[in-house]
Symmetry: C2
Subunit: 348 residues, 2 copies
């Protein structure tokens, strides 16, 4: 790709607004210089911040909007107030119009998904887009979806998630046949929800551009057994947040353990390069960004409370997905899967 990649940013999104968004874009730009930015938001607020980053300013265009979606607004309220005129909507719309390759927002997740669905529409006849998260494992990075776009999923929706997650894995990990697992409460065939069992039988029996591994459990998520773990959004969100919380909790225990005596404090100082490496490895800002899958366009949700470093990771992720043609791959895979199933079976 020779033309620069165009990235539209909802400059008003997130707990910390334009400071984080613009600071993040500047960081990402140093790593991925062949980019241009479309910044949507309140120009009088954005312009002076952008002026502090001359390299970024050269690559950026500000598009003024009067409205910004609030972090605590209900999706329906956000749509009423911000459809067509908010920084969030405009940033998504730039993708629809082909003016940008990817949109990134740290704003309200529910509003972002509602606007993205309305503006971009879903691919083929996917009725539910999903949010996919990158998941650190002891072997390699993995993908988990859905981490909270929807509560509950039927068998066909779970299979859609598998197809979409696999397309993302192919785009990100350069694997022609990623390995997919279904999250369940046991590895035996007998256990779990009917919908999961039904999805498992579809995944086993149909032809897909990926390999189906079988069921995985919560403690397998961090092991890297598979490239993609598929689950409905309630349990996916619980798993994601439980993992984040547990990592922090262990961090607290570790700090307590290293400050309990003169000796442990000394040892910790001597081993400080190791603790710094651990801190970098476990920094949630290094792996930030939920990818909306199943839409006719690429939208990435950054954690709302992140800082410039974290927002830069979300931009990096968006860049990588866009430059690997995620949406095109995903659309082709979904269509092929639909055709292989036949319309009747799919519509049941």
């Amino acid at each position: 790709m020779n033309a620069p990649l165009k990235i539209s940013l909802d400059a008003m999104g997130g707990d910390n607004g334009p400071e984080t968004v613009i600071g993040g874009a500047d960081r990402s730009l140093t790593r991925r210089p062949d980019t241009e930015y479309l910044l949507f938001g309140d120009e009088p607020t954005i312009a002076p911040i952008l002026a502090r980053y001359p390299a970024l300013e050269k690559k950026s265009t500000i598009y003024h909007t009067d409205v910004s979606v609030k972090m605590d607004e209900k999706p329906s309220q956000a749509l009423r107030r911000g459809r067509r005129n908010s920084s969030m909507w405009k940033a998504i719309e730039a993708v629809k119009k082909g003016e940008a390759d990817v949109c990134i927002s740290a704003g309200n997740t529910g509003a972002l998904m509602a606007m993205a669905k309305l503006c971009l529409r879903t691919v083929a006849d996917v009725d539910r887009p999903a949010i996919a998260a990158m998941w650190p494992t002891i072997r390699r990075e993995g993908i988990v979806l859905d981490v909270g776009a929807n509560v509950g999923a039927d068998a066909n929706q779970l299979v859609d998630y598998a197809v979409m997650g696999a397309a993302m894995a192919r785009a990100l990990f350069s694997k022609s046949r990623p390995v997919i697992g279904l999250l369940n409460v046991g590895v035996e065939e007998i256990k779990g929800l009917d919908e999961i069992k039904k999805a498992a039988s579809i995944l086993r029996e149909s032809e897909f551009p990926f390999d189906y591994h079988g069921f995985v459990e919560g403690d397998d998520l961090g092991k890297g057994l598979v490239d993609v773990v598929v689950t409905e959004g309630f349990s996916g969100n619980i798993a994601l947040k439980t993992a984040e919380g547990t990592a922090k909790q262990v961090g607290v225990y570790l700090k307590d353990a290293m400050t309990r005596s003169w000796m442990t404090k000394l040892g910790a100082i001597i081993a400080s390069s190791g603790f710094q490496a651990l801190k970098r490895k476990m920094d949630p800002r290094g792996m930030n960004g939920g990818v909306f899958l199943g839409l006719n366009g690429l939208v990435i949700k950054s954690h709302g409370g992140t800082d410039a470093k974290g927002f830069a990771s979300a931009i990096d992720l968006g860049y990588d997905m866009a430059s690997n043609g995620l949406v095109q791959r995903l659309s082709a895979d979904i269509l092929e899967f639909r055709q292989s199933l036949g319309t009747d079976e799919n519509k049941e």
Copy 2:
């Protein structure tokens, strides 16, 4: 309580069988000496192992059974083969007959729950017993239920879980009004499943012997915000296993970080007392045991793959629950709640 507490053990349960069960009982006996043990299983196997623990032998009676439930047996198979005659059934039955105060098994969870329901029956008109797990937090121990007895739960079942979890918290933590949270994917009222919202409104509006905190998310589990977190068994099991897996994963990262250079290795040696303390704190064997709640009798499920140290923790937990009269408290609370709701509303 002056009479010794009587503990019935399924000596054949678990991946490692009688060695673990008897070794565990011996460890627990040193901590809680006012106990007597009923050991159910294959006498020719059990007797020579028990003979190695003279103190325990004095307090124990072996009850021979020919049948033991296999770890991978389906509950229906286990019931067909082992109802009335297996070590698992007999150990539960001892509780029913009043010969034991609590039954502990490291056997097959599904079979244990099926047998416990059939043998002991549920309290009042609870239709679904739950499995409650102790959850380590940065503040204090918490309780999470259901961690896998049932997949899915309606609003009334979630409220039952809250009442039962609160009874357990009152028995274990000596708090007259434990604080209860409902696991959800967001703290805003708008989000999550209808059943959870409905349960929340019952918990807010009714009179209970506990305080309702509101929704909690996955990353709150380790914070100790509440005494009891209530969820349906699928997401509860995913959360429990994700937390276990994440703790192990961070352990792997920590080991890598401390062995990356000569300096970090030296620091780790100097700080070794801290790492030992951390290891003890994070040892899953220190907090082992799923408590079956909602039955007319106390049954504890130990992790199947644990060792004697872990099994001893499960016995300790069973001892503490039995000596605090968990089942009596729970039955009284459930009945009172049922009466406060009225039969019609409850039966909807």
